[in-house]
Symmetry: C6
């Protein structure tokens, strides 16, 4: 018995709404965090891999990044899922790239940048002699990574609950117009 998953189909109205709230969720959290990156535009059209520019790119490693900036990026990345939970009560797979992104930052903070209670130790397999990381250390890493990610998600939820009216206003608008540029977003967000 074959189910219909294989057929191509148009995005439904329901999905369009989810995407809109998801994207606005990201934007609002990003603009609300200290050391926020500016947002260029927000789009309601499903966009493949548009989100998820990760810190792995070598170009990024040339610049210093402060701990506060990394925490802001993580909270921003959790804004999409947080919006879905608050508005729809049912999370979607649309956050999988955000999950990958936030996990990557968290792991690098713990394992490479010494930005956790584990301290200034490199926790990464290296070419030199391939020292086995102990299972105990691997557990501690997993725990610190989860702490950072859970905190980012809580921050995103908190911000979007405080700004729930703005979230709804801007998302509904986005569903209509399909694209909102950065300046319009700021105007709508910071107006009374």
């Amino acid at each position: 018995m074959a189910g219909p998953e294989r057929k191509s189909r148009m995005i439904t109205e329901a999905e369009k709404a989810i995407i809109a709230y998801h994207e606005v969720g990201h934007a609002i959290v990003m603009r609300s965090m200290p050391n926020a990156d500016p947002v260029q535009k927000v789009s309601a059209i499903a966009r493949g891999m548009a989100l998820g520019i990760t810190v792995q790119s070598p170009s990024e490693d040339r610049y210093l990044m402060r701990r506060s900036e990394l925490l802001s990026k993580m909270a921003g990345a959790m804004g999409g899922r947080a919006a879905e939970e608050i508005i729809f009560g049912d999370i979607t797979t649309g956050a999988s790239q955000d999950i990958e992104y936030v996990s990557s930052i968290a792991r690098r903070m713990v394992c490479e940048f010494g930005m956790s209670p584990l301290g200034n130790v490199l926790l990464k397999g290296d070419a030199e002699g391939n020292v086995t990381m102990s299972s105990e250390m691997a557990s501690r890493i997993d725990r610190e990574v989860s702490v950072l990610i859970d905190q980012a998600y809580e921050t995103a939820l908190r911000i979007l609950r405080e700004k729930q009216e703005k979230l709804m206003l801007i998302s509904e608008h986005l569903i209509q117009v399909e694209t909102i540029d950065g300046e319009e977003l700021d105007r709508m967000l910071f107006a009374a």
Copy 2:
């Protein structure tokens, strides 16, 4: 001493009955879950890999899938085995593809989609630096995966016990006619 396993043989009547109840089990659970996929047809002929279109196909990843939809798919996949247990009291190897399917969804929900108490952390070996997942985390993943699968099976059992008469009616009919299309299935299932 050689046993007869190697000889090709025709499907026995007993096997035909098991297959029929198995397929109808799937169909009834799928149609009974919220956000159910429509069923095109149900066939009583052993069909190799016909069941088991998994969410791994890249085409599926373009669409958002809600947690409720994934749970429905899992319960539907457990409908075959649940029918066998209720009617025959002896489960068969015919559910191995369903087991593979439901395990795959469950693991992705836990490890990639953040749809478990473990939260929004990516739990997958990645090309980037191959961080060892701790044994503790692997255990927690296994536990959450089992929870999701056990719940899906319990759901399928519950639905088929409630609709046991329909299960028997439709299955017996299927044994006779060998194929039932989606509309006829709905009529038989939802009629008084």
Copy 3:
């Protein structure tokens, strides 16, 4: 100092007896289990890999196999060793293929067919993302596998103790005639 293990030698009378009882042990248990496969012939000549047609063959996977059938196969496979223990009080390496066979069935029942308390979860390395099985899960699998195998061995012992006279009668006959076909076996086994 070199021992004589390397020299080719004829099978001794003692070994001939062990082989005969081993083979008859298999045959009696197989014929005594529900859903028993018919036995074509029993031979007392050492036969290399004649025993041990495993369920791994793809042809078998096209047919449904019920849990009761798999348990019968396992008990039958343990019939050889059980006979050795009951009659000779000293087990031999002649059971190594039986051990491989019964371990394979047991592991598949637990890891692929969901036929254990571990439930309907696939416990196998898969191509897709190579998820690490936790050490805890691996332990649980080992335990369930051992349970199934120990039960199969106990079943074989029980059956052969009940039918010990038949075991001796048929084995001694086999030592004389070297081959007994399936019908003769059934006559000797089920006669008063």
Copy 4:
């Protein structure tokens, strides 16, 4: 939604200050430790891989290195991050090479040079027979490595707190002149 991380940009004044304090932090700690290496010059221009000449280079293995020298190197390597924490209260990713360096020295001290409570045992995979290191030993190694690194960081913090005025004086000067040679550094550091 794309963020601005990809664009090339000039180093901001804020980043210039962080780099200057970071470098002076290194220099001050190095000059304050016993068996200190002389410092040739300090530069405020971001310099890619300029820092982090590791002990892995074979040329270094020809010379004896005393435990006190290795501890001094480690504390010096932590001087950059210590300066950031004391002055800015926000650590950056700029210390990742220092983390790699100090981790490498610490691991070699524990695993190859017998310079820890674990004693004179080689704790490294060797070509000869690939003996598995126990998980217990791997944990003990991780712990001793962390102890060495934490002590190095504490030492750096202590030194820079004692010499905080010098740190600020020399760093501010460096921001202006962009390069300070070793002699001028010593004069500024050791003057009243």
Copy 5:
């Protein structure tokens, strides 16, 4: 500073004595165990890999081996070291092949032949799906293997202590004549 290990040298008288007692130790234990293999000859000349014909050779797998035979082989293999301990009080590296041999038998008894409390389960990596053996099972295997080996060593010690006079008599003779054939060995051993 270079030590003399590299120079070729003649076997000293001391070493000749150790080898003689070692070989006679083997022979006496082997002839004293039930189901003993006959001994062809005993030689006092260091013989490279002459000892240690293992059960791994495929030819051996065609024959049945009883548990009692395997235990006898193991005790016999421990006869060399047992003789060294009893007579010289200082064991040598000359037993390394015996250790390899006895470990191999023990492991096969536990992992392939079901000849331990672990039962009739195959405990070996197999081509089929590479199921991970749990750490718990690996520990249990190691323990059962050690039990078998320790028992074999204790048996060898016991036998050689009972026959210590024969051990000394035959060994001293062997040092003189350099070779003793099987019949002469039996005569010397079993005479009053």
Copy 6:
């Protein structure tokens, strides 16, 4: 900021002294142990890989080695570091080859020669079936290896403390003459 590690430099007087005491430490311990190897000459010139002729060389495996000999080799190998600790109170990386050597002997004693409480079991990955060593066994091996090495180090310290005056006398002499042959060493060591 670049440190001076890369520049080639002459061996300092301080390093010359450390090397001399290190070498004499080896020589004195080796000559003081039972079954000592004769020492050909002692040199104060840094000599690359001159020390560290390991027991791994196949030529050595043709000869029997007694446990007492192996313990003597280990204590001798620890003589260099012991001298550094007693005289200078600061150990150096110059002992890394000694550490590798002593670890190798200790591991072989435990894993191949059955010269530890773990008994006569082979604890090495073998080509045959790659049985996993349990984590528990790996821990026990690490512990026994550390015990052997710590004892060797304690022995070396004890011997050199007893002979501290000789150590200083001979080392100071070596610094002057740069080479002492074996006979002169023995004369200086064993004279009143």
